[in-house]
């Protein structure tokens, strides 16, 4: 495949990696969250090239529409907006960068040097197949995932709900002081 599709692939890849680098480096956490939006969108674009239409749609709906909104909530609610400095100071950048670069080198070297037995790619709609497999071969993981979601719901509700009956305890004060 050449021409426009190659160009679009490189654009999506550049968008993904570029935004990810911005997420990692931008000092302002709100900007970082917005960069994360573009990274997620870029990944959705990459899925299209991998004949994963269902996943591309899910990526946009759940990641961009759900998870990113949660993260933005967390950013806005956990920063006093009155404070001008919503900055995000980090520490020990150099060693971290060195570790990451080395790991990137190792991972991409193994990826490029390994001869994978690539089969000819086919582009077919996947949604029906995924649905069927979730109900047959992957039924158990599907059910475990539902238990996982139930646990997350209970836990999140428990932590964020206001205290029942009794007012907040005295050790709240200790935390503030």
């Amino acid at each position: 495949m050449n021409g426009p599709s190659d160009f679009i692939f490189y654009a999506a890849a550049a968008l993904t990696v570029g935004s990810a680098i911005l997420v990692a480096t931008l000092p302002n956490i709100i900007y970082a969250a917005v960069a994360l939006l573009f990274a997620f969108a870029g990944v959705a674009g990459l899925y299209v090239f991998l004949s994963a239409d269902f996943l591309a749609a899910t990526q946009v709906l759940v990641y961009v529409g759900g998870i990113l909104v949660l993260i933005l909530f967390a950013v806005f609610l956990s920063n006093r907006l009155a404070d001008v400095k919503i900055s995000n100071p980090g520490h020990f950048h150099l060693p971290a960068a060195a570790v990451c670069l080395v790991l990137f080198g190792v991972l991409s070297y193994t990826a490029v040097s390994t001869p994978f037995a690539v089969k000819t790619a086919v582009y077919l709609p996947t949604t029906a197949d995924i649905g069927e497999m979730l109900m047959t071969r992957y039924l158990l993981p599907f059910e475990v995932a539902s238990v996982l979601l139930l646990a997350a719901l209970i836990g999140a509700a428990l932590l964020s709900r206001p205290e029942r009956g009794t007012p907040e305890k005295a050790d709240m004060e200790e935390g503030r002081g």
Binding site: A128, L140, V144, V147, L148, A151, L158, E168, D171
Partner: protein
């Protein structure tokens, strides 16, 4: 569009194979429903209901027996090893819930969500211990972790509890990322996530020489190392353990460790023999580092909870010695030690829960001064559990360590075994420090009166003590069970 072919027989067989898990999840949902219906003063029934549910799950696991039952097209298997770990995890959950009868009243965790989260986490552990597909193992791991993140932060007004929850969550999510990337690379090299299929492919040099596969195994190990808190991936452990409600700390130490080691054992015993030369060095270093750093950090602690947290790191190191040794002997020693550790850890936490009057500074070692003679039963129990943790005969801890280090010697890792023994000697110092303080130090004025335990609480403590003694004096049948379990996995 063709209708989906459902094989009813296979489905029923699958459901039969996950019977204990279903009982546990069903109990969790029942508890949530009952929480809505029960009046405020009847909430302690919720705890009784959970205990009954876990007991029923234990019975159902025993009913399934050690025979091999595969379910859900090879996603999960109930075999001898699955049974061993199922029983260990359920026993730990049962003891935890029995202790909850008293603890919930004192610390205000008398809520349906508390029990439901413990039960859901238990079900995740069972899935993880019995999963034969990395997908099941991964989802089980997350199902066990997410409730634990919330349980650590259960004391919502207490600063340390929330802080522990945040740190545990961030590092847990981070380690899941490693775990997942590792699985992805293994999937790339092998084309499947089935553990037995990967194992059978390991005879092919193209797979175990494949750098992608090795990178995958490495990342997977890092993910596991975070979960079982091996040095240098242990930073979260002391904070999460100290911050969590003590009951949750006890549960984490006993059950989470058992589940994670179950999955690790399945992967290691089945796939590593082929790549052992490369991997045994890594495991050797991890085990040596974990034992040494865990023990020496525990020396410096003055808080009992924190000390036991570092000791749990050291114990993960001991268990890793058995994994490094590998083979039937190593596997048997690991299984036995995981079981023993569950009892002695839960027991020790149970006693300090009674002595400490409140969270945080209630666990300072000074609080234990002089209680030995004044409260002989409590003092005796705590001494027993600590002596067992230190690995002194005639307790189960000694037998467990004997088999772990024996397996290492037999596999030719004499250096590692010597290091383990030296570490145990160091650990005697900090385990006996509270004992000395209990019996030798003069009791300060106004010594706090330990909480009067509920009958279920006392029963749980006595059962743990009995298990520690029995497994120490006549370990033969448990060891044989462990050996048969490992053999059932390898065949």
């Amino acid at each position: 569009m063709t209708p989906i072919a459902m094989d009813t027989g296979a489905l029923v067989r699958g459901l039969y194979c996950i019977l204990p898990e279903m009982v546990v999840i069903g109990t969790a949902i029942l508890v949530l429903l009952a929480d809505l219906l029960l009046p405020e003063e009847g909430k302690k029934r919720l705890c009784h209901l959970s205990v009954a549910g876990v007991a029923a799950a234990i019975l159902s696991a025993l009913w399934l027996g050690p025979g091999k039952i595969e379910g859900f097209s090879g996603m999960i298997v109930h075999d001898g090893m699955g049974l061993f770990f199922t029983l260990t995890i359920l026993a730990a959950a049962l003891l935890t819930l029995m202790m909850a009868t008293g603890y919930s009243e004192w610390e205000g965790t008398q809520k349906g969500e508390f029990y439901a989260l413990i039960l859901l986490s238990t079900s995740g552990m069972l899935f993880m211990a019995e999963g034969t597909d990395l997908m099941t193992v991964f989802l089980g791991l997350e199902t066990l972790s997410i409730p634990i993140y919330c349980l650590v932060g259960f004391h919502r007004g207490r600063m340390r509890s929330l802080e522990g929850a945040m740190k545990y969550f961030l590092l847990g999510a981070f380690s899941s990322g490693f775990f997942l990337y590792g699985i992805a690379l293994m999937y790339a090299a092998a084309g499947t996530t089935r553990i037995p299929v990967i194992a059978s492919m390991m005879r092919d040099a193209r797979l175990y020489g494949n750098p992608v596969f090795l990178a995958g195994i490495g990342l997977l190990l890092v993910g596991f190392a975070f979960k079982v808190s091996l040095v240098p991936f242990h930073m979260w452990t002391p904070d999460a353990y100290e911050g969590a409600p003590t009951l949750v700390t006890a549960f984490m130490g006993a059950a989470v460790k058992a589940a994670a080691f179950a999955a690790l054992l399945r992967v290691v015993l089945l796939t590593f023999p082929a790549i052992l030369p490369a991997m045994s060095g890594v495991l050797w270093v991890l085990a040596a580092l974990t034992m040494t750093v865990g023990n020496f950090s525990a020396l410096l602690q003055n808080n009992m909870k924190r000390m036991l947290a570092y000791s749990s790191i050291a114990h993960a190191g001991y268990i890793l010695v058995g994994l490094t040794a590998g083979g039937v002997a190593g596997g048997q020693a690991v299984l036995f030690y995981v079981l023993v550790y569950a009892f002695m850890n839960l027991g020790a936490f149970g006693v300090i829960m009674l002595v400490a009057q409140r969270e945080d500074d209630g666990y300072d070692i000074d609080n234990f001064a002089g209680i030995g003679f004044r409260y002989p039963v409590l003092g005796g129990l705590l001494s027993l559990f600590l002596v067992s943790l230190a690995g002194i005969p005639p307790t189960a801890g000694f037998v467990g360590k004997f088999y772990l280090f024996g397996a290492a010697v037999r596999s030719g890792y004499v250096g590692l075994a010597v290091l383990g023994v030296l570490n145990s000697a160091v650990s005697v110092y900090y385990y006996l420090r509270p004992v000395v303080s209990m019996y030798m130090a003069p009791a300060p004025e106004g010594i706090p009166v330990p909480r009067p335990p509920r009958s279920a609480f006392s029963f749980a403590l006595c059962a743990s003590a009995a298990a520690v003694l029995l497994l120490g004096v006549m370990p033969a049948s448990a060891l044989e069970f462990a050996e048969r379990s490992v053999l059932s996995l390898l065949m």
